[in-house]
Assembly symmetry: C2
Homo-oligomer: 333 residues x 2
Amino acid sequence: MATIYEVSKAAGVSLATVSRVINKNAVVSAKTREKVEQAMLDLGYRPNTIAQSLASSKSNSVGVLVSELDSPFFGEMMSGIETELRRAGKQVIFAAGHNTEKIEKESIEFLLSRFCDALIIHVEETPEEYLQQLSEGKVPIYLINRVLDSMKNRCVHMNNELGGYRATKFALDNGHTQIAYIAGPQQKEDAMERLRGYQQALTESGIDFDDSLIVYGDYSEQSGSDCYKQLVDKPKKFSALICGNDEMASGAMKQARDEGVDIPNDLSIIGFDNTSFAQYLYPQLTTIDNPIGQMGQMAACMVLNDVYGHKHAIQRYFEPELVKRKSLIQYTE
Amino acid sequence: MATIYEVSKAAGVSLATVSRVINKNAVVSAKTREKVEQAMLDLGYRPNTIAQSLASSKSNSVGVLVSELDSPFFGEMMSGIETELRRAGKQVIFAAGHNTEKIEKESIEFLLSRFCDALIIHVEETPEEYLQQLSEGKVPIYLINRVLDSMKNRCVHMNNELGGYRATKFALDNGHTQIAYIAGPQQKEDAMERLRGYQQALTESGIDFDDSLIVYGDYSEQSGSDCYKQLVDKPKKFSALICGNDEMASGAMKQARDEGVDIPNDLSIIGFDNTSFAQYLYPQLTTIDNPIGQMGQMAACMVLNDVYGHKHAIQRYFEPELVKRKSLIQYTE
DNA sequence: TTGTAGGCGTTATCAA
DNA sequence: TTGATAACGCCTACAA
């Protein structure tokens, strides 16, 4: 592979000049630039990114930590990030944290050891103190779906409460008043925010919400089924069921169907996240769209601005929209 | 960050010696090694991977090209690759080809420009000649789901024909004799292989297969619905339907249900791939498991062996298994 | 506007 | 078994 040195000889200029036209930072006369560019073309020259990194102490790569590589949710997030960063010629390194504090930490250190210029991370288990400490290091850290006061301008998040609210409001607007809720784990903040939205919508409508209509799952499909069983065992009846995520909605749907309940005629269901399989469910799931792809893209733009001097417009806050499909219908006696 | 130089000073040895203990390749006296290791510990030394790469002309990173980052199928593949490579301390760079010849090519060149030590690629559109040419370059190329004679030992693939055969055989074994087939695109080799398996199973059972029971889709869910319509418009009846992939199976199920057909009581359905949403479908889809995660892992092992001198056991050929779920039942009059 | 030269942190070749 | 020292390919003051 041709080096900058050979290019400089071929073009009859110095190393430094070639470097200048590569990096387009310093001014080079049009004539010289042309000569150099021609020489690069002739030689099929491609800068050696590794040498560039070593000399400039920039790796032109950004590390991304997701929980799982094989999940529709994180798939969208990765895709959003990769598209934006690729366009800018940056390299993306993905690592999986598997919802485990230990692995999340190892992954972060792995990414750091590869000299990433920035990290975009979606962590579940990493304690705030560690993030805090990280953010004080030289490598900037960007958070998705988590907000730390001390680094607000590097966090992008969605209003989960509003999502829960909108789902519930939609059920209310369709005449439902007995609305059950299968929430995510109580120790997960997003789960609790979504639940709060539910409660707020009910309160706002003058409906006393009944704790017995709320059960807690762990976001898995199985727990959706289990929670549904708990719910029907209670005396309180309900015509609509809102779930903390689509997986649990799917589990609940299956269980309900197994018990002979017709969805949506006997029971309306709303999910959360608009995971890609939501449209494969039967009936197609009405849910709340989680714009995770866009959020990933925004995080990428923030990195591009802060680290590489770009000027993208930034949006740090997102609002989830309702996606109307077939699992909820107007309430009838 | 401490450098190798500081370590050498602290340990009272030369640069070269430190390098030796880092790379564990040359022999170093136990005493010296200990001194050096202590010094590294004291200084919190971590080798600079970029400098290592420049000096050794190995990037310790491998490029992976998938069609989409946000797909359950490729998710599994990426996950299999990443797990194996991460364990070996190698870095993985993913790029998406989006089923487009142009983008696939750009992505490959991007990966190459980042000095990957090897490429693992899953390409749909890239012509054989280009792959051929690539494989003659200095960077070794590994293919998943595609076999080129000239590089057989760098290809890992699954027996698609056997998959089609097993699906069909299962339907036959359950008493079905009128079996329709929704195939993938005719220009895709895997689609045709799966179809051949179907035909072979029928022939073997002494059943004349009827071309009018075969229609061609494009692997999308929508085309599954469309193909189902075509099928029922024909005079020929069928009690089982095999689909070239799970997406089309889902589309066909939806359409059938919309037309009042009860699955599996009126019609049995089998998919292909065992995509993650197959279990979310109603009824849960009986399908053929595509071990794409394992295949990815194997490709990673091959790279590890060939490029980094490991000694993993290698399997280049995989056989797909039937996954029995709920969408097929015994045929009854 | 261009050129010179030192340095980035390692590896690897030769001697010793 | 160890130590000098020249690469590796590029960036970036500083000088001209």
